[in-house]
Amino acid sequence: MDKDFQSWGGFPKVSQSVKKLNWLSHIELDSLNASVLPRGLGRSYGDSCLNDSGILLDVTTLKRFISFDEKSGLLRCESGVSFEQIINCFVPRGWFLPVTPGTKYVTVGGAIANDVHGKNHHVAGTFGCHVTKFELLRSNGEKLICSKEENIELFGATIGGLGLTGLITWAEFKLIKVSSPFIEAETIKFPNLREFFELSKSSEKDFKYIVSWVDCLRSDESLGRGLFIRGNFSTTDDIQEFKPQKSRFALPFNAPASLLNSYTVKIFNELYYGKQRTKTVTLKQHLNPFFYPLDALSNWNKMYGSKGFLQYQFVVPLDNGYEVVKSIIQQISKSKMGSFLTVLKTFGDIESPGWLSFPKKGVTLALDFAYTGANVLQLLNQLDKTVASSDGRVYPAKDARMSAENFYKFYPKAAEFENFIDPQFSSSFWRRVSQKSR
């Protein structure tokens, strides 16, 4: 049993054993006597990357490239290849990821299993939208090539399928051409939520990368104030200026108690919003700090102390998006359980092939809360109600507590998805949310 393989949020804590996979040509799943779950870099916050009393198939050593087409940018690689590896190898050659989440410490397999999204969702959709093909190893030894032409259903079930349909051994997707490692970025202060929606609307056409930070402790006329960040890759021809992110600062151990509590979060929010004096700041920024600001601190999750924390991300349709986000910020503000990094963004209408894909057209808010006990769970259950009644959904990759009832409501294709789960595969998340159906 291995204690090192917890989830990024550190809640819940489980006990499981780990099997490292070293070579694609030498994987044996048939000799395993407990349920298995593929595991990448463990950046999922909740229990979707955990398999209590079971086995994790550690793919982080399956990290070889297989082929690359310099003309089209089509890359095929093993599923444990990390986004960091792709950036360091391909940015100097003028290629970048089609979609990236806010950390580069994710694997290709994990990016598919969670169908991750990024700052360019409104123009590029999810990562799964760019995957052309992958190989799925099932526990009966079958190796299935899945694409939009072959094994179409498994293709749809596996993208966003939380690692439950089998082991993705390799995948193929297209990189995008860039001529610079820099982003021409603008940061605009917005005084309230209303203005966020206006800024989003007016920016989506001209800016490929958009994200906002919100101060979620405000409940008066400045409710939803924050910083709107938008940018595009610079078009200057200076790709040779790329530098891999070097030594990362690491917290040597968990903070004794959560450093992020309602007091520190309040101070942080005041400083963060207040540090920018003018309405707009423009900046030519290297892609690492622009896309991955938190990666500079390699284990920022330890700031929350040993009890860990919970993430909560939902999406609701745009029509009533303003009211729902407002209501949720009010509920949080009232609870005095401030979220340290609150991220707000609108999703576009590009549909993912993934059946359990989280993003859909609307507005999404991501929050984090130190795990302080039942009061947090109570607050999140309350937020679930608001989201469920507004035709929204909650992101499984960040969840450790949503009910089975809500899961099936959020994901109407979940019942069909069940038919494609590999009988040997399971996860703590799945056993929790599928309780009622079994």
Binding site: K20, N22, L24, H26, T61, F65, E78
Partner: protein, 246 residues
Amino acid sequence: VTAKNVMIIGATSAIAQSVAHCFAKNGNKIFLVARDNGKLKAVEDDLVVRGAKVESFVCDISETYKHHELLIAAKEFLPSFDVILIAHGVLGDESESQVSYETAKKILEVNFLSVVSLLIELTKTFEAQRSGCIAVIGSVAGDRGRQSNYIYGTGKGALEIFLQGLRNRLYKSGITVITIKPGFVDTPMTSHLKKGLLFVSPEKVGKEIYQAISKQKEIVYVPRFWLLIMLVIKSIPEKIFKRLSL
């Protein structure tokens, strides 16, 4: 930067792969040797994507009668040998090898005698080309015999003496001979061992080996703190050492 010609024996080892990544950047030519075809193909593809020109040769290196054929194939692909990295090796079943001559012999054949055979064949080529670098992965286990791994340690220690002599002989021809002594590295070879603080990643070890080759070092401990650890271990008088359970 001119392109380099590199040969790597034991190319599927985790350490060899990370050294190869460092060489795969500048259009270098790399000739790979390993015994498992499937693994070798995976390593070859990876290095090609990273920008190297690669050819590989499947061979169980303990079958020394194949070395001649191997080197002919290598010479056909590589116009010269700028760098040779010998990275193959087995940990073996130490307790079995301490009671069974056959097991001990097999470990010594793989870890020591195969290198002797290869380098005897290659020395003339190096002397003729009057440049290049021979880097061989030894081990801190070769620095002092201990009850927990002295068969493995014997092979690595013998290797060190052999390389010392070769370094001495090839010095006047301008050839660099490097003995690399890794400590504990987190690789498939050590997957059964409990990982303590002294374990480092093969990526880190690979980078340090690449730097040692670039800087033409002679004997390198990777990571460097092993130099201190082994200085202490080597300085303990035998009278005391024999009583320790190491």
